[in-house]
Amino acid sequence: MNSDIFVVIEHLRGQVSDISYVMLAAARGMANATGGKVIAVILGHDVETLARDLAADRVLYMEHAAFADFSSDAYQRALEGVIKEHAPRAVLFGDTTMGGDVAAWLSTHLALPLVSACRTFRADAGALKFVSQICGGKMMAEGDLPAPTTLVLMVPGGYKPEQGRAAQAPELARVNAPALDDLRVTVKDYVEPAVGDVDVSKEAVVVSIGRGIQNQDNVELAEELAKALGGVVAGSRPVIDQGWLAPTRLVGKSGKAVKPKLYLALGISGAPEHVEAIGDSEMIVAINTDPAAPIFDIAKFGSQVDMLDLMPVLTEKVQQAKGL
């Protein structure tokens, strides 16, 4: 039995995605428990660049023209041989729009068990256990990771991506790709996401306003505060619907999900569809005059002062603190 942990590195257009580092972090813990190694698997080109900061013991890579784009057909066929040959203890995939297309197919094809929505692993008396997050995050399911080989689809949240990064590039080992002719799934073109406005999902400080802003003139107060904090203004549904902020600034189920260091929720009650999209924020501070507002259930700090009173004072104090 092979005790190594394989991690299928997810990358898109030359960028390794965060989930890959999360998986490497998870794999390190597992490998420590099994006594195996962490092996990253890369299908693609320019592997040196992709692999340069992966916290893996080794990288197996395959190069083929078919990997220029993501094709589930090509990935399935390429990984089939690798997994069969090495039979590692576990193969981790991102539970994403890419991994999701591949892992379940392989599970059926190779008759290997599959665990999806996995958030963390833990080792219990030498046995590996998975903890998966299901039912929209309302329930956690725990069980043994079936031996000898299990495929796993991982969601973010259990490990920090930084733990999956290394200063040194791991050793690379090339594997020959199988014949990948007559692919049944091929990429023809890409449609770029709309650009122009700031992307609130990538900002470190988000000052978010809700119905409590009362009118369009007050939006300026929030803009000033955001500027002082080095962030941007976003809003909940009522503010966007009023046309007080552009639709690109909508935070919520129908808008963007955010993960800033600071999410300052001003006059936002915290409807479920809004809360869902701010859960990854490092710190939520909520200002709302209604003590029963659900936003206070997920905020770290809160206050019942009127946001309209607070904004100008806070802007001034932040500017002072920054020595402006």
Binding site: R211, G212, Q214, N215, D241, Q242, G243, D290, A292
Partner: protein
């Protein structure tokens, strides 16, 4: 040929042409077109009431006086028209028989002094009223006329003015020439004859004949024009009032079905009685003036809607109605507050007609995403909050002693709590206070717990008839399990549907809690321990006031708590809607100039010394508390439910 014979011939030909044109058009519009419509059971039965209605609303012009000065002017024009139609008849007959006797008089009509006196004075009143009406249209030009056919209105007024002036002139000249045997009964005509008295007889005769021909010519031309616009109401108003819909306004007719789809999408799918409404609209704009949707966004004008439908009905092109000319946005804007129909002098039903068209939109799945979501939640969970029905009575978990389960033990009062009062986090505290008041008053009451569903009042007004029926079935089944004498509701919307639309044997006696509190106070069961010292104003919920006529009970309750009540300018049946009704609370708001709820709060804030805004509807609480915030009126006004006042005065 003598002039008299020529006169008879010309009058005869003119009469045949004008009468023929009028008859043909009226036949087309009222017979051919209306017969394309669907059956109208609402137009029949209760004949005594209908006769009374004609006396009160046509003869006495009852509703016109709601806008006092123009209403008074119309009163005189109407009665002048009626009385002077006899003089017009006299003029026509005089012309027809001129070849026998150039001064032929009809028996009584033509020679009865007192009638002549009345007619003479009414001719003057009409002239004065027309002057006022012209001033109103051309100088004042109130907002309610926006979109009405102005030139048509002015033309008709000029016609009537001409008819009156020429009548007075040719009567005056007849007096001058001593050809009027009852000249003494016509002082006004005599006055109008004076300027011509100095002319010689022939000249006066010529002027008199010119006035006569002008008079008759305008009358004939008017007759041909009559069916072509708003003045057709002269013909349709009596049948419209006589055959008016006598069902309660809060009871919608069942949804019509065409080709498997509910609702109305072409003009011929309306009932003929609805079509008669389209022809009856006078474009007076009183509906537009009181419409909250018009005031807030100018998208929906109930008047323009009627005018549009009339044009469509007349055009007879069979094209689909919805989209163009009637936009979906227009139909969705209505809050079903009933202010328009209440204000209409001629009992036109706009709300019911709008709902018929909404029904079609729903059957096509054409609605905004938010509404779709709300309906899906109502379909699955029986409430618009999308919460589990098992949590419907979660608010009651902390209430002690435990509220009876009316499905398990008999109660005198079955409290139908409603969605907002059950689920809305900002309203449940009021719901608990309601329970506390009931308990302290020693009321034997219970609730249906998770057996209750949304009553469907607003679901029906959105146009989702099937979902309404499903909700009714579920509620009726739950009510069937309960043993009670009276239903009491928190929500006026629920109240309306249970009272007017649910099968009577399932709901028995339905009361709103304002009515129940009023009774409990009167009977001495509910006693206050202190007098409150607030100056308050009261907002009449649409579905309590206008729809069901409950105005006095909540006011008596307020006064019993010791509060001083100051009325807002728009109160009672003129109360402005909060904007939430008819399913609007579930829809996307869209661009608005001023929300109805904000306009309402500003109205209250303008009252001297008023610090509490009292409402009696959970949706009002939600809407107005929000509006107090958005208008920045927190320091001036608090929104309280009626029950909060009562609870405060009891403890």
């Amino acid at each position: 040929m003598s002039y008299d014979l020529l006169k008879s011939v010309v009058v005869l030909i003119a009469l045949l042409i004008a009468g023929g044109v009028f008859g043909w058009r009226a036949y087309q519009l009222l017979w051919i077109n209306l017969r394309r419509g669907q059956k109208s059971p609402e137009a029949f039965g209760r004949w005594g009431e209908r006769v009374k209605g004609v006396l009160a609303y046509v003869a006495a012009q009852g509703r016109l006086f709601r806008v006092l000065v123009p209403g008074t002017a119309h009163f005189f024009i109407f009665w002048g028209f009626l009385l002077l139609s006899l003089t017009i008849l006299q003029a026509i007959v005089e012309g027809l028989f001129a070849f026998i006797d150039p001064h032929f008089k009809l028996p009584i009509i033509g020679e009865f002094g007192p009638l002549a006196l009345i007619q003479d004075f009414f001719a003057l009143f009409v002239v004065i009223a027309i002057c006022y009406a012209l001033y109103l249209r051309l100088v004042v030009n109130p907002e309610r006329y926006k979109g009405s056919h102005k030139s048509q209105g002015v033309m008709v007024l000029s016609f009537i003015m001409t008819i009156m002036l020429t009548l007075l002139v040719f009567n005056g000249i007849a007096i001058n020439l001593h050809k009027d045997s009852i000249a003494a009964w016509r002082p006004i005509s005599t006055l109008f004859g004076l300027p011509f008295a100095g002319l010689d007889k022939t000249a006066q005769f010529v002027v008199g004949e010119i006035a006569y021909w002008l008079h008759l010519g305008v009358v004939m031309f008017f007759l041909t024009e009559l069916p072509e616009g708003k003045h057709f109401h002269i013909v349709t108003s009596v049948p419209a009032v006589f055959l008016r819909d006598l069902d309660p306004p809060g009871r919608l007719p069942k949804a019509p079905e065409f080709d498997g789809k509910l609702g109305v999408s072409t003009v011929n799918q309306f009932r003929w009685r609805q079509m008669l409404d389209f022809y009856t609209c006078t474009e007076c704009g009183r509906c537009q003036d009181v419409c909250p949707a018009y005031a807030s966004a100018q998208i929906l004008s109930p008047k323009l809607l009627m005018m549009n439908l009339r044009e469509h009905l007349t055009a007879r092109d069979g094209k689909p109605l919805i989209g163009d000319p009637i936009s979906e946005q227009v139909l969705w804007s209505c809050t079903t507050c009933y202010a328009c129909d209440q204000e209409c002098p001629l009992f036109i039903n706009r709300v019911k007609t709008i709902v018929d068209m909404r029904r079609y939109l729903v059957s096509e799945g054409r609605m905004d995403a938010q509404l779709q979501e709300a309906l899906a939640k109502l379909g699955r969970y029986g409430n618009s909050f999308g919460q589990s029905e098992r949590n419907r009575a979660k608010w009651a978990a902390t209430v002690q002693p435990k509220i009876k389960d009316a499905r398990k033990e008999p109660v005198e009062y079955l409290w139908f709590v409603g969605d907002y009062a059950s689920y809305s986090p900002s309203v449940v505290d009021i719901t608990r206070q309601t329970a506390a008041v009931f308990q302290r008053a020693g009321l034997d009451f219970g609730i249906l717990y998770e057996g209750e569903r949304n009553s469907g009042n607003d679901v029906r007004r959105v146009g989702e008839e099937g979902l309404f029926e499903m909700l009714v079935e579920k509620n009726v089944a739950a009510l069937g399990k309960a043993n009670f004498k009276t239903i009491v509701t928190t929500d006026p919307h629920t109240y309306n549907s249970l009272k007017n639309e649910y099968p009577a044997d399932a709901t028995r006696n339905t009361q709103h809690y304002a009515e129940l509190l009023d009774q409990l106070i009167t009977s001495g069961k509910l006693k206050f321990s202190k007098k409150l010292d607030y100056t308050v104003t009261y907002h009449d919920p649409c579905y309590l006031g206008r729809y069901n006529g409950v105005y006095a009970a909540p006011r008596r309750v307020i006064e019993a708590t010791g509060c001083r009540l100051v009325e807002m300018p728009r109160h009672g049946d003129r109360a402005l809607c909060c904007g939430a009704g008819g399913g609007r609370i579930w829809m996307e708001e869209g661009a608005v100039k001023e929300r109805p709820s904000e306009s309402r709060i500003r109205e209250a804030v303008a009252l001297d010394g008023v610090s509490v805004f009292v409402a009696a509807c959970p949706k009002d609480i939600t809407m107005f508390r929000d509006a107090v915030k958005t208008t920045g009126s927190e320091a001036r006004l608090v929104v309280k439910d009626l029950i909060e006042l009562v609870n405060e005065a009891m403890t």
